[in-house]
């Protein structure tokens, strides 16, 4: 009796275990296949280094890599924060005054149809080759999702709730800050996720165009010396920086869910 239960449990848990391991297995298989093929064919390291070579490059260039994190991460974070603050202020202003919204919003939306990445070289021309141009560009490309998403969020408040506020003789400002803004917070969080990714893209492209420091610069240097292993190592470091920022925002989003009472 007991035995049959155990064997049943085993039978049912085996596939679940397998399925939870599948992604890891696939990842591992691809890595080992990559390692093996490159080793077997003796493929030039400068074109496709083995995973182990990348790991080795990280180990060998640890100081170089870590010292280049700060220039990239700080500019991306700064750009993101400025974009969030300015974007938020603008969208609140537009939610408060329909005149401002009617005048500004179509222009903002129209402007954002132009692929913003194309402006990167102009920022170098305007703000120089120091960090200012990269900061400016990061703000520029990461501000749009905040404005667009927050404007949508502030507009999408439950109309009955607005009626309730009206019936309580609430002022426009009270309704905006006590009801519409908190209701739009989930929109802000999802916009921030997009925004931080774009700020990173902005800084990396900025570093490609002109820079003496940062992980993007390191990628170009490694490319110039055909040290592809170092290049991919820098990309991995960029991943880590992106993941770090992203997880902070994900945590904020989790706290927000709790605040909204959706999670205990």
């Amino acid at each position: 009796m007991n035995l049959s239960i155990i064997s049943q449990a085993r039978r049912s848990s085996f596939p679940t275990l397998l399925f939870s391991l599948l992604p890891v297995l696939l990842f591992g298989t691809v890595l080992s296949f990559w390692e093996f093929v490159v080793w077997y064919t003796d493929y030039p390291k400068s074109i496709l280094p083995r995973p182990s070579a990348i790991a080795l490059a990280i180990f060998d260039n640890w100081d170089l890599l870590t010292s280049n994190i700060i220039p990239t991460a700080s500019v991306a974070l700064g750009g993101f924060l400025i974009a969030t603050l300015v974007g938020l202020t603008l969208s609140l202003l537009m939610a408060y005054s329909t005149w401002t919204k009617d005048a500004l919003y179509p222009n903002i939306v129209g402007f954002q149809i132009v692929p913003k990445i194309a402006w990167a070289p102009l920022f170098v021309l305007w703000l120089g080759i120091e960090f200012q141009s990269r900061l400016g560009f990061a703000v520029f490309i990461s501000i749009f999702p905040i404005i667009i998403s927050m404007t949508a969020g502030l507009k999408n408040t439950d109309p009955t709730l607005i009626r309730l506020c009206d019936s309580l003789t609430a002022t426009k400002l009270q309704t905006l800050f006590l009801v519409r803004f908190p209701f739009a917070l989930p929109y802000l969080i999802s916009a921030m996720k997009m925004s931080i990714t774009l700020a990173m893209i902005g800084v990396i492209v900025g570093e490609f165009i002109t820079s003496q420091e940062g992980l993007g610069f390191l990628i170009l240097v490694a490319f110039g010396k055909l040290e592809t292993d170092l290049m991919l190592a820098s990309v991995l470091f960029l991943c880590a920086v992106g993941l770090f920022f992203y997880s902070i925002i994900a945590f904020a989003s989790y706290r927000l869910e709790i605040w909204f009472g959706n999670k205990k």
Partner: protein, 267 residues
């Protein structure tokens, strides 16, 4: 002469009607594609009276209620509450919706205190009252719970407390229980009935449930659809306080049957 008469008429109506919709008409989207939502509505509610507006969906009951709340302006006619014409929302009128419209990030007690915050009244003065109200509706164990952790019926109880906290003279209710299941709905009717016994507000209750209307009201107004007009004005004679055994009596069912006939005659 004519003007004098209507002035006189208005003056008398003011004396006995606390809420008075006077020849109200509402047209949405004026123009070639306009909709006539309500037309020629005359409705009076005395002070302390509880009146239900009964009618099929889309007959303009809610529109009428919103005009009385000052959230919509009538195309023709006027609305008077407490003798003064309604032009914009006032603090002496409380409103309840079909949806509880609680703020999801606020606990029950904070939600009840929300009007106090909006009206910039003294928090301390009302905090005890808020707790008292929530206790009255049986939510003393749920003061710090957020709406997502409450059932639909509990949320509407919080919404009732929120409408009562700032002590409005008139309470307007727009199908407040129609999203609830039948059992909870009966429960909520009893809760409202008991609260009414103590607070003695002037009430206007929109519903499409005949039973609910008859059970709760002193008077039932039946509305027809498109355009909404009042086709029946019926006194409900049962003494207060009422409890749910009332709905089993033949007299109660006779009134319900009569009203059902009035509504069906519309089709």
């Amino acid at each position: 002469m004519c003007d004098g008469l209507s002035m006189l008429d208005q003056a008398t109506s003011r004396s006995d009607a606390y809420v008075h919709a006077d020849g109200v008409q509402k047209i949405f989207n004026p123009g070639p594609k306009q909709t006539l939502a309500v037309d020629g509505i005359d409705c009076r509610v005395k002070e302390g009276e509880f009146v239900s507006l009964l009618g099929p969906s889309g007959c303009g009951k809610s529109t009428l209620l919103m005009m009385i709340a000052g959230l919509e302006t009538p195309t023709k006619g006027g609305v008077f509450v407490g003798g003064a014409p309604m032009q914009k929302p006032r603090e002496d009128i409380g409103l309840m919706f079909q949806d509880s419209t609680l703020l999801p990030w606020k606990s029950s007690i904070e939600n009840v205190m929300f009007p106090i915050r909006i009206l910039r009244r003294d928090r301390k003065e009302y905090e005890e009252k808020a707790k008292e109200l929530l206790k009255r509706v049986g939510l003393d164990q749920f003061l710090d719970k957020k709406p997502a952790q409450l059932s639909g019926g509990m949320r509407q109880r919080v919404a009732i407390c929120r409408a009562l906290i700032y002590d409005p003279d008139v309470l307007l209710m727009d199908e407040p229980f129609s999203a609830l299941d039948a059992i909870t709905r009966d429960e909520m009717n009893q809760v409202l009935m008991n609260l009414w016994q103590d607070f003695k507000k002037t009430g206007l209750f929109v519903t499409h449930s005949i039973r609910e209307a008859v059970f709760l009201s002193d008077r039932v107004l039946v509305m027809s659809a498109r355009p909404g007009t009042i086709i029946e004005d019926l006194e409900v004679p049962f003494p207060r306080p009422r409890d749910f055994s009332l709905v089993e009596t033949p007299e109660f069912n006779e009134i319900c049957g009569y009203l059902r006939g009035k509504i069906d005659a519309q089709h």
